[in-house]
Amino acid sequence: MQVTVTVNGVEYTKEIEGRLLLVHFLRDTLGLTGTHWGCDTSNCGTCVVWMDGEPVKSCTVLAAMAGGREVRTVEGLANGAELDPIQEGFRQCHGLQCGFCTPGMLMTCRHLLDNNPDPTEGEIREAISGQICRCTGYSSIVRSVRWTAVHEAEAKAAAK
């Protein structure tokens, strides 16, 4: 079957099998390997991308289901050489260790901050509760999100 998906603003039309999962479509068909593929059971959350603006676990979404929809992956965060503030936050506060869970964490945390610019530690932990960091770097991930929240608030105030 043929599917047309917009990924990070670029429209792709591809011939695929109905059973192809979105995570494999992104990685193998489009070569966008930033999205990681982990547990295959929607537990670990390393495959999180956005579909029509909402985080989804792409190992449990068919590529066909993304037909006609907008997908955003970790490759769509940075603006050229300029990191998204959430990426900068992870860099500043050591939010990544081995880096395996990082793409999914970044996508979830970006979505959280877009909807709640000043989340509490509890709200951050709830937001990432469907994602597993095998290095148990949760504390530094939470710090990274808080750093980003403060940084974005300051940038917004300075722009006024």
Binding site: M1, E17, G18, R19, L20, L21, H24, W37, D40, T41, S42, G45, V48, E54, P55, V56, K57, T60, V61, L62, A64, M65, G67, T108, E126, A127, S129, G130, Q131
Partner: protein, 292 residues
């Protein structure tokens, strides 16, 4: 890499068109809503279909929460996140928010639906236990716009088996709302956050003007082939004044009425203990809410 066996993908654009596809494709087809229960089962080859009919585009038609007269009507495509976030629903039926807080995780809740949860018919499924507790009815639509309404006992035929025929679709859940002061609550014991229940319990209670119980219902999950309502508890509680001794009695009835199996999640004895304790806790909370 775990992928499902090959199938043909179809996308439905309306309820009636979905029913038309089901009529044509028969038992070789299955509807997929959120897919977070079905797709993992297909990856493991526990389920196999020649056709999958994607009904996510029916969210506009079947994604709603409405209060109409003496009932709440919820469309089958209403997503977990919408059930969790609805203040109107939490006000009249707080059990939904209790349950949604412990269903999977926020990202899975973006996709999963009420109808999908009920049609999956997993004996440990939280919303099935909620709907059993609340004496919900299920609206099932078939060819030619025909509709039939069945109660939860009839809806769940057995594990992973429902009353929905090959050419039908669950469209709506209806929950009665009585005029009395009411309260409801849900609690579950799980091995880790967002897991399936080891055991869970829901309770709903209605109080009359004299503060006596006019009706009470308890529903349990993961302790038998289906989620279970326990009429004996309702009979024991009606007409009584809420009290700790009454919750103990209800808990004891729950423990001996259920039919748990010993497995990796716990022994049958442990699960009976949980059924007892969770029945007491949810009844206590439901009464507290009915009084406030």
């Amino acid at each position: 890499m775990q992928v499902p066996a090959p199938f043909e993908y179809e996308r439905a654009t309306s309820v009636d068109q979905a029913i038309g596809l089901l009529e044509r494709l028969g038992s070789s087809a299955r509807l997929v809503a959120g897919g977070h229960s079905l797709l993992p089962m297909m990856k493991l080859r526990l389920a196999n279909f020649e056709y999958l009919i994607d009904i996510n585009d029916l969210h506009g038609e079947l994604g709603y929460i409405r209060r109409s007269g003496d009932e709440v009507r919820i469309g089958a495509m209403t997503r977990h996140r919408e059930l969790l976030e609805s203040d109107a629903l939490a006000q009249v039926l707080p059990i939904f928010r209790d349950a949604e807080r412990v269903i999977a995780d926020p990202i899975v809740r973006n996709r999963g639906t009420l109808g999908g949860s009920l049609c999956q018919a997993d004996p440990s499924e939280d919303l099935s236990a909620v709907c059993t507790t609340l004496d919900a009815s299920c609206v099932i639509r078939g060819p030619g716009g025909t509709e039939r309404v069945v109660g939860m006992e009839e809806f769940h035929v057995g594990p992973y088996e429902t009353a929905v025929a090959d050419n039908e679709i669950l469209t709506e859940i209806r929950i009665p709302v009585k005029a009395d002061k009411s309260g409801s609550a849900y609690a579950k014991v799980e091995r880790r956050a967002g897991d399936w229940a080891v055991v869970s319990a829901g309770a709903a209670i209605w109080l009359g003007a004299d503060n006596r119980i006019t009706d009470a219902r308890v529903g349990l999950a993961a302790v038998g082939p289906n989620t279970t309502g326990i009429p004996e508890i309702s009979a024991a509680l009606r007409g009584q004044e809420p009290a700790e001794a009454l919750y103990e009695l209800a808990g004891a009835i729950a423990a001996r009425s259920c039919d748990p199996a010993t497995d990796t999640r716990g022994t049958a004895d442990y699960k009976r203990h949980l059924a007892d304790e969770l029945t007491r806790r949810t009844l206590r909370k439901a009464v507290e809410r009915a009084r406030s």
